[in-house]
């Protein structure tokens, strides 16, 4: 029962390329949406379930991407090893920063994570001998897994979809574990959670590291898929968009975050046709959704659905009772 949503999601991801073969929208936009889902699902563990905020999550996405890019192009490492290195770097930096940063609350936490993201972005732009500066790094070799080289949009769609399902499955399991309950307790009241014997500092550190690892994983895939990385893909606006995906979909819901990621990716594709008006519409939509549906699209809509469902079920049980009489 717990995994029903997961199976539906997996079926849709698998059916899309079958239903629409050789469709640019499915393979290219779908792959981009898949990466966003990985990022949003990871960030949702931190924002949605634990009640912390990070306005600098693009930094970890970038660390994964740059680790893959630098290690494969400059040192000739195989892609999988570079990916592991990226996970290690992002994970250890997250672990180092987690305690001092997550001690802060509310707007102070927003400021600290925002500053962290900007510092990492400045380093990407300035450390030219390593990162290639504002122009970025090109010529990243294709990813090779156990002798199979991933090439072409369809194969990338498949790999990213599989990675996305893996992270959703992981997230669902984390949320339902002892750790997931600890995280929700922290969101409810950190003080109460401490009284219950939860080591809140280490719970927050763990979830911060996990969401950084998700982001770095997506970053490595992104670098190989695009064969090019530049600092523009990891700036403050991207961090803000990641938070928006989580909040747009609905907080504390893995599928909510996933739907938010997909919705925002599609929105960007849709807004491209408006050219100069894109920014204006984007800003207006952000405001409108947050004002009128502060609990998020996915959660808001599923609440409506549940109300309709109970309404009808209420009627049918009434019928059953009257028949019983």
């Amino acid at each position: 029962m717990r995994l029903v949503g997961f199976y539906i999601f997996a079926a849709i991801a698998a059916l899309l390329p079958v239903l629409f073969p050789n469709n640019y929208f499915v393979t290219v936009v779908g792959a981009s949406a898949g990466l966003h889902v990985i990022l949003a699902v990871g960030l949702n563990l931190l924002i949605g379930y634990t009640g912390q905020i990070s306005l600098g999550h693009a930094a970890f996405f970038g660390m994964g991407a740059y680790a893959s890019a630098i290690m494969t192009t400059r040192f000739g490492w195989p892609g999988w090893l570079a990916m592991v290195a990226g996970l290690l770097v992002a994970g250890s930096i997250a672990w180092l920063f987690a305690r001092p940063i997550l001690r802060l609350r509310g707007h102070y936490l927003a400021m600290a994570t925002l500053g962290f993201g900007i510092i990492i972005h400045v380093i990407m732009v300035q450390a030219m001998q390593w990162t290639g500066g504002p122009d970025g790094l090109a010529g990243i070799p294709p990813l090779n897994l156990l002798g199979w080289t991933i090439e072409g949009d369809e194969q990338w769609y498949g790999v990213i979809a599989a990675a996305m399902l893996l992270t959703i499955w992981l997230s669902l399991n984390i949320v339902d574990s002892r750790m997931g309950r600890a995280l929700r307790a922290v969101r409810g009241s950190e003080f109460a959670a401490q009284m219950m014997g939860i080591d809140t500092a280490s719970a927050k550190t763990q979830v911060f590291v996990i969401s950084a690892l998700f982001a770095a994983f997506a970053g490595s895939l992104f670098a190989h898929q695009q064969a090019f990385v530049s600092p523009d893909s990891f700036n403050l606006m991207i961090s803000v968009e990641l938070v928006t995906m989580v909040v747009l979909g609905g907080m504390a819901s893995t599928f909510g975050a996933a739907c938010g990621a997909i919705a925002l990716t599609l929105l960007h594709q849709g807004l491209v046709v408006f050219e100069d008006y894109e920014m204006l519409i984007h800003g207006a939509l952000l405001m409108a959704v947050m004002i009128f549906m502060p609990q998020g699209l996915f959660v808001g809509l599923s609440q409506v659905a549940r109300r309709v469902w109970t309404h009808f079920r209420g009627r049918s049980t009434q019928c059953a009772e009257s028949i019983g009489k």
Partner: protein
Amino acid sequence: MPEQLFQFLVTGVTVGSLYALVGLGFALIYNASDVVNFAQGEFVMLGAMTAISLVAAGWPLVLAAAVATLLTLLVGLLLERFAIEPAWGASVVATIIITIGAAIFLRGVALLLWGKDFHALPPFSGDTPIHWGSATLLPQSLWVLGGAVLLVTWVHLFLNHTLMGKALLACSFNRAAAQLVGINVKVMLRLAYGLSAGLGAIAGILIAPITFSSYEAGVMLGLKGFSAAIIGGIGNPMGAVAGGLLLGVLEALGAGFISSGYKDAIAFLFVLMVLFFEPTGLFGHKVAERV
């Protein structure tokens, strides 16, 4: 070395007073509504860009500046009325996204109106550098400094010595209690948004001749202003001013002695360090003591 130091300090104080004004706007809005307004930098940009357009259209500078300030003030009021008030009581994350949405929206409007080009205002009183000891100073820097001193003093007096200012402060301490003693909290909210939009616009106009302005100019300024407010302990107006000056000076020293490319990283590293050791900002607890 000492001459350079003096020069960097002068530059730092000029930039810092700009950050101080933006940070002051953050603190005012936070006091009145518990909202961190990420569109604060856009007020600075709108003020500067409107004044530049009006001056370019042949308006006298003073009139252009006044109209630009009033227009930005109106934008601040509209933001309060149509984005903040309807979302009253929303979570911190939701309000952050709403104001970021507002910032993106205003940037989008500016992009349509003025395009992607950089624009500049002619200096108010020429651009012959003033030599002061070993440092040189643009006359416009004096305008920025003077303007900042005047505005900060005025806000300080307003908050502490007028009935309306005290009412605004009362709202920041306890909104329900303020309402109970007959303060119209909604009016105070609008006052705060209007005031900080106006402050932002004036800051933008004062700095426009030194740093060129474009539709994106508000982003970094807004973030630095937010940093200033955080360093000062959010919701503490004069703390934000001190934080802004400190940030500006450190940034100028970092740019001068370490690397100009890393100046933003240095500024934010400083903010992180402050938060690591003082999780509520340098002057944060004073608010609690004042109660």
